[in-house]
Assembly symmetry: C2
Homo-oligomer: 221 residues x 2
């Protein structure tokens, strides 16, 4: 909701602009920790603002979620480009990107809500496709390099990242896990992803329809 200022209207007040940033920051954190199902009230609590304030800046929950998701996807594309430029080999770049994706987990690629499905906005769709395309390039490189096992594809990998358990970090209100589940599981997966791979992967690789269906079923697109 980067709030397009209607021409002629007075610009947004400084504190309000800061609050929007605050809301997005809190939303990112909460979503990464507990998933997109958390209530707006939780986001409000974490941001230190009221629920009314969130609704003043975002027309509804979905809009907030999309905003966060789009931010994550664009950021991941940047991380990917940087990794490709800086890392010595494709495998290092690959692990760096996977680690980043795990960090934000299902915040990747889509929204959300068990409410009746709504179409994703065009910006989200665009960001999603861009990310998928970039990932595809990275995966191809790593496989040609011989470091990433050949019997997985980009969709498989995305689905793995999205299925990682949430961080469940301590939110200050007690609770939270001592162990970094996400990180541990990711590390095990990465070991398993190194070529050639001893286990025979059953069936055939995931497809784009699989990816879409998974998100639809799991999160309501």
């Amino acid at each position: 909701m980067s709030e397009v200022v209607p021409s002629g209207a007075r610009p947004q007040r400084a504190d309000a602009r800061e609050n929007v940033r605050q809301i997005l920051r809190a939303a990112r954190a909460v979503f990464a920790d507990r998933g997109y199902e958390v209530s707006i009230e939780e986001v409000a609590r974490r941001s230190g603002l009221g629920m009314g304030t969130i609704y003043r800046h975002f027309p509804n929950k979905r809009a907030l979620v999309e905003e966060v998701a789009i931010g994550h996807m664009r950021e991941t594309c940047e991380v990917l480009a940087r990794a490709l430029a800086e890392e010595p080999d494709a495998w290092s770049a690959f692990t760096r990107v996977m680690r980043h994706m795990a960090e934000v987990r299902s915040s990747q690629l889509f929204p959300v809500s068990r409410r009746r499905t709504t179409e994703s906005g065009p910006a989200l769709v665009a960001a999603r496709n861009a990310l998928l395309s970039d990932l595809d390039g990275l995966v191809g490189r790593a496989q040609r390099e011989g470091s990433l096992r050949a019997d997985v594809n980009t969709y498989d990998l995305v689905l793995m990242m999205v299925s990682l358990p949430p961080r469940i970090a301590d939110d200050g209100a007690g609770g939270g896990l001592a162990a970094d589940l996400t990180g541990r599981q990711l590390s095990v997966l990465l070991d398993g992803l190194r070529a050639p791979g001893a286990e025979h992967l059953p069936g055939s690789a995931a497809t784009r329809p699989d990816l879409d269906e998974f998100f639809r079923t799991r999160f309501g697109i």
Copy 2:
């Protein structure tokens, strides 16, 4: 709900007994496919019976879920014992058990429902502890054998199994994934679990409180 017949009362009608079996069979299938959050209506549809019939045999949804969960846990214990007796080494037994757990996925270990948390019944708690204890034995063997990496423990493994994506099989009503996500991801994990493990697992292993907290947060115990 194996319906204790009150002494002196007439025994349960044959068709009713068959229906209970039918309900449990359908519930298992639906839960494994889509997770415990599916509505009772979905279970009813799959079983070919009406919702009223389900409620005639189970006081509420939680009771049904616990029944299914307990069944899975006991069954897993049996599979484990058999694997240990029949397989030539601990690793083979280990993978066999993991595959079985993946099959029923989160149907393991606990219930459910986003409704306000309720305590698990004593039968469930007992089955859960028995399974955890048996798994511990298996994990220890595999690690002493040198085939399972040493830096994971039983809780880590259980959490991995529970985090696997649901099967999302075709339920006849269209939908369903072409790829066997669960199986593919499990295979990658198993490769990653072989000793010694190249990646360094971050942090320390999961603990029992972590396991409990995870289930509480994720499923409402």
